[in-house]
Amino acid sequence: MSNGLDKNQLTAVLQVLKKYNLKETEEQLRKEANLTDQVDQQDSDVSSVLTGYKSDGDPETYEGSYIELKRFVENSLDIYKHELGMILYPVLVHMYLELVYNGHTDKAISLMKKFGPEQDIYYQDDLKKLAMVTRRDHMNGNELTDTFKSNQFIIRMSRDTLSLLKRHVHDKKASVLLNIVQEHLYFDMYEGVARNKTQIDATSGAVGGEAKRQDNKIKVYYGIPKAPDIQILSAPVEDEEEPAEQESPDKPKKKKSKKDPLLSKKTKSDPNAPPPDRIPIPDLKDNDKMEKLRALRETSKRTNLGPENLPSCCAYTLLNANYNVCCAEITEDSSMLAVGFNDSIIKVFTLVPQKLKSMKSADKLQEVNIEAEDVLVRMMDERSGESARSLCGHNGPVYSVSFSPDRSLLLSCSEDSTIRLWSLQIWTCLVVYKGHMFPVWDVKFSPVGYYFASCSYDRTARLWATDHYQPLRIFAGHFSDVDCIQFHPNSNYVATGSSDRRVCLWDITTGNHVRLMTGHKQPIQSLAFSICGRFLASAGTDCRVLIWDLSHGHLVAELTGHSKTIHCLAFSRCGNILVSGGLDCSVKVWNFTKLTEEISSEDVNISHNPDVKTGDDYLLRTFQTKNSPLINLHFTRRNLMLAVAVFDGIAS
């Protein structure tokens, strides 16, 4: 970084201080800055926002130097051509913004019109947004221009290409270009052969350029830890109806000598699994253990899916709900369905014969014998059973709902910027979490319960605990709305997908990002972790499902076939099948086993990005619904696929 830039930044800081009337600090800084140039200003992003584009370059030279750069790219050797071509887009953007900032609107527009359309197709959306900015005051508070101003555009380049580029820039002494390259571009250099066009296209497209290698260096414990020991409860398991045995002193604990065959089949401890005490996890209650056993029992009846054994799918179609349904979620045991509506209501449907009961009133509860074994059942009012219940309280469209693993709680988030926690026993709102200042797009309970994560229009994702009214962690770093969030099956990480077209994996212990993955060309709407925890599937408006390997953060596959936005992804319980569904009213079934087998046979390390697998080889089947866009996909414990769709009566 040059001295000039530091001065710029310093003056910016001084401006800020002046603005807020912090005279002493200003004085101090002024003194300090004059005395030493050693002020560490590496990350003062705020400053560059204010003066980043101050330039007294001749507006006439911009077009000329862009053409020159373009010619240089075109005339370079074929192997370097594509990597060099990557700088054209950011250079154009920054030239445009500089021109606009300095009041040369006509020049800016003519530059954009001339060279905008020839940029890669996946940049056109952003160019359109940039083209709206035609005056300096438009840049004020504009999300996209702010991103470009305050962040360097990251370009991965091989050493040879970079030196070629550097030589050109210095030879030409094109001050405009030099300035942009130095201030706004960051070159992530790597050793090796320059990439070709397909390789580049696979990972470019995000707002801030590609991910740095540095971003993906930290080890991720993507494995699944050994299931907690639930052996102690194996006794009452024989009868499924019987509730958990109460620890009563008069009743000596039965020691089960015979091991349950289900439990003896222990999984070997995964070397990639995080230590069990990495995050504090709430202790399992007896009821939870019962539930786990029941799940295990169900698992033994599971059919393993595959290309020869295709799934069956039961579709739940919501009728009379045109343009009114925002989201839907099914409990882990597939007994309940929650639907969030545009008109702020949440509806919970039961999918099993058992009705939705509510708890008895307080005075009646006193009559219940607490010592009774079936106290949980006795607490519920038998006569209150209903097949559907509504939860009212939000003040805007409900964008997401999520059940707690024990099915007693429901989370919802809404446009009214709140997250609400509902009790599914007394059917009222328990807590309102206010933290986000803008619409909350997604909320998810962690697989162990207690924790939950949310993401919002305010470009942050947050981690919460149900008993804290303030977030435990704030995950900041996305350049645009964080559209979707998902917990890793081991609860140690959350993945977020954003409108800046990047997928990010955050460590919930540190709150830092540990993986940053680029490759989507449009906002991301859905995320799903594979059962093994190693892979992440993401999909969104660009109609593609991308599969990421979390061990190194590589893009490993790109599944194309959908024609409209994909809104839901799900892995079968056996992990062999991935299903995706969206607005094109179709469910696509992908062969995930085949994919993982092919990946594992390849030698992959951090610097070697594998070839991205594409094509229809993995598509097993497509099921079309009748004018019903899919909003949720789910696999039951026995691997029956459940789909939730909204019938669009108007389109038919």
Binding site: T317, N320, T622
Partner: protein, 616 residues
């Protein structure tokens, strides 16, 4: 701003003119050009930004249409007061108007009569959100049930029948495992012509057997079920050739044997197939039309022409024919023209044509519309009159001829009187009528005079009778037409393929014995206005049935192709008003509610359809 229009990247900006207009509307008389330009640029920028934000909200609501609520939430996110009073659950029905070189898109604002709002006309209740579960696929194979899309879409069927070469040889039908064998076959034959594969699975063969047996069997309930299946099942495409062969062979044999009952059953099958939304019958019309016309104009259709009610069959088949014309007439196949020519040729034969065939031809023509009736029947009314006069007045004729003449007379009066009413001005002179129409003049005069005095024209009443004829056609072979036919129809499980039904409804309907309380009150004022409609557009039974059921509110918006759907609904309630009450009260109320809701939805659908035609 014109200069902005050239590039894709730069969309349009609001024009300076519109800025000035807006300024004027809030009382700023002379806005400077400069100021207007500044404003337009800034406002366009802000608007684009807001729309961008609104799109986010749309995406998260998992929609593809931007609604007002999305704009509101975008405004809210920027701390701007949302736009109140623009809420609409449906996408905006933009109207388009142009003239004087200007184009305008606007929202039609209807005037609301507050008095009407206050005076008790209850607002429409919103529809309850329902959950319906069904199998999307079983072990990777998609079952063909009404809840799933048909395996071969109607548009593809249409394309196939119009242009067989277009058929994509390797196109895998959804949900079906593509066998290598099939592909191979296609490759081999691709250069000559697509051979349709008509291999039926065992299940399909069983289905075919069951359905055909039930359709012509003696068990009426079973038949109703079978016809129901034929008219709603989405997966019949592959069996269609067999079904058609069954029908045409059946007609061929039974016409010879004069088996009226079976002919009626077969025609009802045709009707069911025509009603099936997922089938495109054009490929089979060359077989079906001759069979249907046989049932209209054949000399003899039953063993005892003087007793059996073969007239109902002719009426029914005529309606089928008009339905075919309506659905499949194109400028290339000219079905309507050819059928009209066929019937007129029959009329040309003069004395040679048997009376029963004459009746059929007349009925067939009359079903094709008033215009056809006016051009082809009206000029010949004298000769028809002369012919039936000899049978009706003379003593030398047989009983059969007499009945036939009676029917023809009735028919002619029914179809001609409304036409005369419109083309002739009052006063109606009996002498003139006699002069012009001969024997039928007297009756016609009486009918026209009656029609003029009564607001409800003859045609309605007459058609109501024929409506019951259609429904009773299976039963009332040897009986005179009675309203009992309606009861029979009520027994049919009238399952529509509209998805908006709740699954429990079907079961309720099958033994539906509801009483509709609110219907008569609401419908009475409307009935008066309908006859004009039904008359002007003589679309035949469907429309008239609606009148009789009297549940319609927005009739004039009715679109032909959809009228069948409506018929199903309204008939139920029409029936229900007659039927005795025998179910729990709560059930009935619920049922009423759903019926009303369905009507609403239907109407919504219709308005939507008409809106869709407009450029938005």
């Amino acid at each position: 701003m014109a200069k902005m229009n050239e590039s894709d990247l730069y969309g349009t900006n609001l024009s300076i003119e519109s800025m000035k207009v807006v300024a004027e509307s809030i009382g700023i008389g002379n806005l400077q050009d400069e100021a207007a330009k500044e404003l337009s640029e800034d406002i366009s920028f802000q608007l684009k930004h807001i729309i961008q934000d609104a799109a986010k909200s749309m995406n998260h609501s998992k929609r593809m249409k931007l609604l007002q609520s999305d704009v509101d939430s975008a405004l809210k996110a920027r701390n701007i007061e949302p736009q109140y009073g623009f809420h609409s659950a449906e996408p905006l029905p933009f109207r388009f108007a142009s003239g004087g070189g200007r184009e305008l898109h606007f929202i039609e604002e209807k005037e609301v009569d507050l008095g009407e709002l206050l005076n008790g006309i209850s607002p429409k209740a919103p529809l309850e959100v329902g959950l319906r579960s069904h199998w999307l696929c079983i072990d990777g194979i998609q079952p063909t049930i009404p809840e799933n899309p048909p395996p071969v879409a109607k548009t593809i069927q249409k394309l196939e029948s119009v242009d067989p070469i277009n058929k994509k040889p390797l196109k895998e039908s959804a949900g079906k495992p593509s066998t290598g064998k099939q592909k191979l076959k296609n490759v081999e034959t691709v250069q000559i012509k697509q051979l349709a594969t008509h291999e039926l699975s065992v299940e399909q063969q069983l289905y075919y057997k069951e359905i055909t047996e039930a359709c012509v069997g003696s068990d009426e309930a079973k038949r109703a079920e079978a016809l129901q299946s034929l008219s709603t099942d989405p997966g019949l495409h592959e069996m269609l050739p067999r079904m058609c062969t069954f029908i045409i062979e059946g007609v061929r044999v039974n016409v010879v044997q004069n088996n009226l009952a079976l002919l009626i059953y077969l025609m009802r099958m045709v009707k069911a197939l025509l009603d099936n939304q997922s089938l495109y019958l054009e490929k089979y019309l060359h077989e079906l039309i001759p069979s249907v016309s046989t049932c209209i104009v054949s000399k003899q259709l039953c063993m005892r022409p003087e007793l059996d009610n073969h007239w109902a069959l002719r009426d029914f088949a005529s309606r089928l024919m008009s339905q075919i014309c309506k659905n499949f007439n194109t400028s290339t196949n000219n079905i309507q023209t050819r059928i009209t020519r066929m019937f007129t040729n029959a009329l040309q034969q003069g004395e040679k044509i048997p009376l029963s065939s004459l009746y059929g031809a007349l009925q067939g023509l009359s079903e094709l519309g008033t215009e056809v009736t006016r051009i082809f029947i009206l000029p010949k009314i004298r000769s028809f009159g002369a012919r039936i006069e000899t049978h009706l007045e003379g003593n030398l004729t047989t009983n059969t001829d007499k009945t036939a003449s009676g029917h023809i007379k009735q028919l002619l009066i029914k179809i001609i009187a409304p036409i005369i009413k419109t083309i002739r001005n009052p006063p109606d002179s009996l002498e003139e009528y006699k002069q012009e129409f001969g024997y039928l003049g007297i009756s016609l005069h009486a009918a026209v005079v009656k029609a003029r005095t009564q607001p409800t024209p003859v045609s309605t009443a007459a058609s109501v009778v024929s409506t019951s004829a259609i429904t009773s056609v299976g039963q009332s072979i040897a009986r005179p037409m009675t309203s009992s036919g309606i009861v029979q129809q009520g027994n049919q499980p009238t399952r529509t393929i509209v998805m908006s039904q709740q699954s429990q409804r079907i079961s309720v309907q099958q033994n539906s014995q509801q009483k509709v309380v609110f219907m008569p009150q609401r419908s009475l004022p409307n009935t008066a206005s309908h006859p004009q409609f039904s008359q002007s557009n003589s679309a035949g039974t469907t429309v008239v049935k609606l009148v009789s059921s009297g549940q319609t509110v927005n009739q004039p918006k009715l679109i032909q192709s959809q009228s069948q759907k409506l018929v199903v609904m309204s008939n139920q309630s029409a029936f229900s008003t007659h039927s005795p009450l025998s179910q729990g009260q709560s059930n009935i109320v619920k049922q009423n509610f759903i019926n009303q809701q369905q009507m609403q939805q239907m109407q919504q659908l219709q308005t939507q359809k008409s809106i869709d035609d407009l450029p938005i």
